[in-house]
């Protein structure tokens, strides 16, 4: 520690009253120093000398520097110089970023620090809760004109202390060994939960906790997870507008997040490697799909393998499906997109076993164990859940309907109750358990259909147009839930989802099949595959462009680059043209377009007659 530099800093950067306050609040200071600090008549220079002597004698220098950085984040950089290489540079960096208002960078720094050094549960919780407080403060600041600076300061001190604590910590071998024994999936889920906690999204954290409990925990723990989810839901509904919390409410909120984190750790600690359903260790291809080897175990095989499917509804009728191939692996979502009448529903009905194809090969390697000449349809269809576009109605109350279906699938007694309670809470239907069909909105009916499908423990979910008639927020919730469930459920299931909401579906799908109007395949692959395969770039621009803009674009990209389609202008350019360059040209006239979207790597292109 550079004592002289510190002396200069204390003398020049801190006012005497502030110096006294910092010294008085320093936890490691001895009583004498603290008493001197509190004496307003004391000499400032003498106080600095005494403080430096105490710090050097007790090797308290690094701790004091961190304490000072927390109190005065604007001094983080000079304090880092004072500390030198042996100090806690991460803590100063965090303090510096926070003082500059770069909260996202500070959070990233803390995450890197956490990953670089295995930390205890206490440290992680403290970090997560502190970052959650930060996000909460940001939300409140955004909604009120006068953000609380005192609150900000307290959060900054806390985060800096956490960073210093984590930097200084060195774990013994036993703790490191413990950390390494975590089930990778459980660890990943824990990270997601902690990320949600940091974003102060207790409800989403609770939902992921439910997924973790469903995958790795027993009924008792799942019940606890359900209780926490209920509390988070109540909390959310009471404080949806994010008003400033009272002290008691703050404590309640912190307790809730703490409980979520504690239960997460309990479940992860109990999840031995190799438990919790399938643990894919097969090699993965570029898109993250397992590559089946010649003698791969059955659990690495796909759930569905379809090749060259063709279908007409009647002899001589129009071809509904033409040479469609598809492979669905566990824990993946496959999107099926296309225009009206392209054959999306027909494809799903074929996969569900409702329609027989005229030509092609269809197999269910994991669902039909015997894999004989004829598919064992009862065995296959009992593991496939088809949620049609026209949702089936039911007469009884919602909970009774789910209990009845679970019973029909062979789930009885406490297992039946637990399964229904779990999925009602997981899909946000718990407070609608006594509702009947006609009392539910379309979005809730869609959720009920999904809950009914999941209660039956399927391996394959086929969902036809789930986003129809849902508002944008409901669409996002449903898709996010679907993504989370498919990726982490103990059922090791997969989903095939058809929709015309292409960008939303592409955001969660691992693989997309685009069907043309004639039933053939326009393109089959992930978004990345389409990105790599495309020959050019295509942009959607809202509204009609003025002549000057059209001339600019034509001059830059050549004649014929613009096409007018209904209320949208399409711009086709070379593959290497960037989005930024196009936006610059569009905005050069002083009036940027109201709507701009890059659909180069999206299946939306096929709606505009583009080729892959």
């Amino acid at each position: 520690m550079n004592v002289e530099l510190l002396r200069v800093l204390l003398r020049d950067a801190l006012a005497p009253e502030e110096l006294r306050r910092v010294l008085a609040e320093f936890p490691a200071a001895d009583g004498v120093l603290r008493a001197r600090a509190r004496d307003p008549a004391g000499d400032g220079e003498a106080l600095i000398d005494d403080a430096l002597a105490v710090l050097e004698r007790g090797s308290l220098g690094p701790a004091f520097l961190v304490h000072l950085a927390a109190a005065r984040p604007d001094l983080a950089e000079p304090l880092r110089e004072v500390a030198g290489p042996s100090g806690a540079p991460e803590a100063f960096a965090v303090a510096s970023l926070l003082s500059a208002g770069q909260d996202a960078a500070a959070e990233r720094k803390l995450t890197e620090l956490e990953r670089a050094r295995p930390s205890t549960a206490g440290d992680r919780h403290e970090l997560n809760l502190a970052v959650a407080d930060l996000h909460r403060w940001q939300r409140e600041a955004g909604e009120r004109a006068e953000p609380s600076e005192a609150g900000r300061d307290a959060i900054t001190r806390r985060l800096t202390s956490v960073a210093a604590s984590m930097s200084a910590r060195s774990l013994d071998a036993a703790e490191i060994g413990e950390a390494a024994a975590v089930h990778p999936e459980a660890g990943r889920l824990r990270e997601e939960i902690e990320a949600h906690v940091r974003r102060a999204d207790g409800k989403r954290a609770a939902l992921r906790l439910l997924d973790l409990a469903e995958r790795f925990a027993g009924p008792a723990v799942r019940r606890r997870a359900i209780e926490l989810s209920v509390r988070a839901g109540i909390w959310r509904s009471r404080h949806v507008l994010g008003g400033r919390l009272e002290v008691g409410e703050q404590r309640e909120w912190t307790d809730l997040l703490q409980a979520i984190l504690a239960l997460t750790d309990d479940i992860v600690a109990g999840a031995a490697p190799g438990s919790g359903g399938l643990w894919l260790t097969a090699p993965l291809d570029g898109a993250g799909r397992p590559v089946p080897e010649a003698e791969a175990a059955r659990e690495y095989e796909p759930l569905v393998r379809a090749a060259s499917l063709s279908l007409r509804y009647r002899r001589g009728g129009p071809q509904v499906l033409r040479d469609v191939s598809l492979t669905v692996f566990p824990r993946t979502i496959v999107g099926v997109v296309g225009g009206n009448g392209a054959g999306k529903t027909s494809l799903l009905r074929v996969l569900a076993g409702e329609r027989r194809v005229d030509d092609g090969m269809l197999a269910y390697p994991q669902l039909d164990p015997a894999q004989g000449r004829e598919i064992d349809w009862p065995a296959v269809r009992s593991q496939v859940a088809h949620v049609p576009q026209r949702l089936p109605q039911w007469r009884e109350q919602l909970a009774d309907h789910l209990h009845a279906w679970a019973g029909a699938c062979g789930i009885e007694g406490d297992e039946n109750r637990d399964a229904v309670d779990f999925w009602l809470e997981r899909l946000g239907l718990a407070n609608r358990r006594t509702a009947r069909w006609g009392e539910l909105s379309r979005s809730l009916q869609a959720r009920v259909a999904l809950a009914r499908a999941l209660v039956g423990r399927p391996r394959l979910l086929l969902i036809d147009e789930p986003l129809v008639a849902l508002d944008p927020r409901a669409q996002q919730w449903l898709l996010q839930d679907l993504r989370d469930i498919v990726s982490s459920s103990s059922l090791c299931l997969a989903a095939v989802v058809s929709s015309q909401h292409i960008p939303e579906l592409e955001a969660i799908a691992d693989d997309v099949v685009g069907l043309r109007d004639d039933g053939g395949v326009w393109f089959h692959g992930a978004v990345l595959d389409l990105e790599q395969a495309r020959r050019g770039a295509l942009f959607e621009i809202g509204g009609r462009l003025d002549d000057a803009t059209c001339d600019r674009l034509t001059a830059a990209f050549g004649p014929g680059c613009l096409r007018q389609r209904e209320s949208v202008t399409l711009l086709r350019v070379g593959r290497d043209v960037s989005r930024g360059a196009v936006l610059e040209l569009l905005s050069a006239g002083g009036q940027p377009p109201s709507y701009f979207r890059d659909i180069s790597a999206s299946h939306l292109r096929m709606f505009w007659g583009d080729r892959p």
Partner: protein
């Protein structure tokens, strides 16, 4: 008053919650019972039987219509039972079933449960009628009624002894009164000492007087109150047959439908078009049955060919369904034969019973040749052979569903 209303409301709420818990227990732990509503049908049926029996036993008998007031209970019960079964069958069509291959044990338990539920729904009307009849027998055996009946018998015998008396009305009156006396004697084990004095009752004297006055009046159609009472007692205590053959047949068909229709509705599923021909075939035979017994006017073909055609269709369907499934015939054909076997074949006992017994007004010699006579001419009471025929029909429905069910389920799960 408000507190009492509050307490009543609380009690009703507590009762509702208890019933919900009871229902939920079966839903979660015994799904077959819940789906068939057996956990509600059984206690309600039992309670209705007990309530009906209590009403019959404890109600005050109207002097003018000793048992007619009780008879008013039975018809609504019958009507309600039929309505409940029809609604219940409709409810059963919506039962949730997984695609997983069912065991025969599961199919058998479901079929048996449905059979028992149908029986439980029909039971209260039978129990109430049995109580009604037992009470009518006790009333008829009362000393006063026996005395009046005895007086009528004697007065009728004196009237019939006169050469110019027109026999039929008085003869029938005598017949009825004597049967009442016989029944009373049988009940009292023929204790002659208990027979009341002939003229000890004013009603007996009135009856004798009326018979004496109208002995030669062939057109007398309004006997006095006492004689009417005795005739009514005879009607309910001796002559009453419940259920009548037509109602017995209806009950049998409803019970068969209760077992068969839910399975057909499930396994026909989206292929209802395959089942429609079987339904039309069944209706064809039912309509011709109604024509045969005269309920629907119209000429009909000879009974023999008609019954034999029903028999042939049934046998072909019963054997053909599993054979077609084994030979991997088109699913439409297999479902059609299966549905025919379940819709048409249960009609056989009904057809055989009705057509082997001569209808009213028919020449008894027109009895169908080649078929055993299930009922003696004119008899409408339940014969053991009739019971056996119905039992065989119900057993056939259950056994056939269990035998062919797994195959039909597999076909239902297969794609169209």
């Amino acid at each position: 008053m408000r507190a009492a209303a509050q307490r009543l409301g609380d009690a009703a709420g507590a009762a509702r919650r208890a019933l919900r818990r009871y229902d939920r227990h079966f839903l979660v732990c015994h799904l077959e019972l819940w789906q068939t509503r057996a956990h509600w049908i059984a206690p309600v049926s039992l309670a209705t039987c007990l309530a009906g029996a209590a009403i019959v036993e404890l109600s005050r008998i109207d002097a003018d219509a000793p048992v007619r007031s009780l008879d008013a209970l039975v018809s609504p019960l019958v009507f309600a039972s039929v309505l409940v079964i029809v609604l219940w069958v409709r409810d059963q069509r919506g039962v949730l079933v997984s695609f997983a291959a069912p065991s025969r044990r599961w199919i058998a338990s479901l079929a048996l449960l449905r059979l028992l539920c149908a029986v439980a729904v029909l039971l209260p009307s039978v129990v109430v009628d049995a109580g009604l009849r037992a009470r009518a027998v006790r009333i008829a055996a009362a000393a006063e009624n026996v005395g009046v009946a005895t007086a009528i018998v004697h007065a009728s015998e004196r009237c019939l002894a006169e050469p110019s008396a027109d026999a039929p009305p008085i003869a029938r009156l005598r017949e009825r009164a004597s049967r009442l006396v016989e029944a009373a004697r049988t009940r009292e084990r023929g204790d002659a000492a208990s027979r009341p004095a002939r003229a000890s009752w004013p009603a007996a004297a009135r009856s004798e007087r009326w018979i004496g006055v109208h002995c030669h009046d062939a057109a007398a159609s309004s006997p006095n109150e006492d004689i009417r009472r005795i005739e009514q007692l005879h009607l309910y205590a001796i002559e009453r047959v419940f259920p009548r053959p037509s109602l017995r047949a209806l009950m049998y068909l409803l019970t068969c439908g209760a077992v068969v229709v839910p399975f057909l509705a499930l396994w026909a599923g989206a292929r209802r078009i395959a089942v429609r021909p079987a339904i039309w075939l069944g209706l064809f035979f039912v309509v011709h049955s109604l024509t045969a017994v005269g309920w629907v006017p119209g000429g009909w073909l000879a009974r023999g060919p008609w019954v034999w055609s029903l028999l042939v269709v049934s046998v072909v369907a019963i054997v053909g369904a599993p054979l077609a499934a084994w030979r991997k015939a088109p699913p439409q054909l297999v479902l059609f034969t299966f549905a025919t076997a379940l819709i048409v074949a249960p009609l056989l006992p009904v057809a055989a019973l009705w057509l082997s017994a001569p209808a009213s007004g028919d020449d008894p010699g027109f009895v169908c040749l080649g078929l055993p006579s299930f009922m003696a001419a004119g008899q409408e009471g339940i014969d053991w052979r009739e019971l056996a025929a119905y039992a065989a029909g119900l057993a056939y429905c259950c056994i056939y569903v269990v035998a062919v069910g797994p195959t039909m389920h597999r076909m239902w799960a297969a794609p169209r």
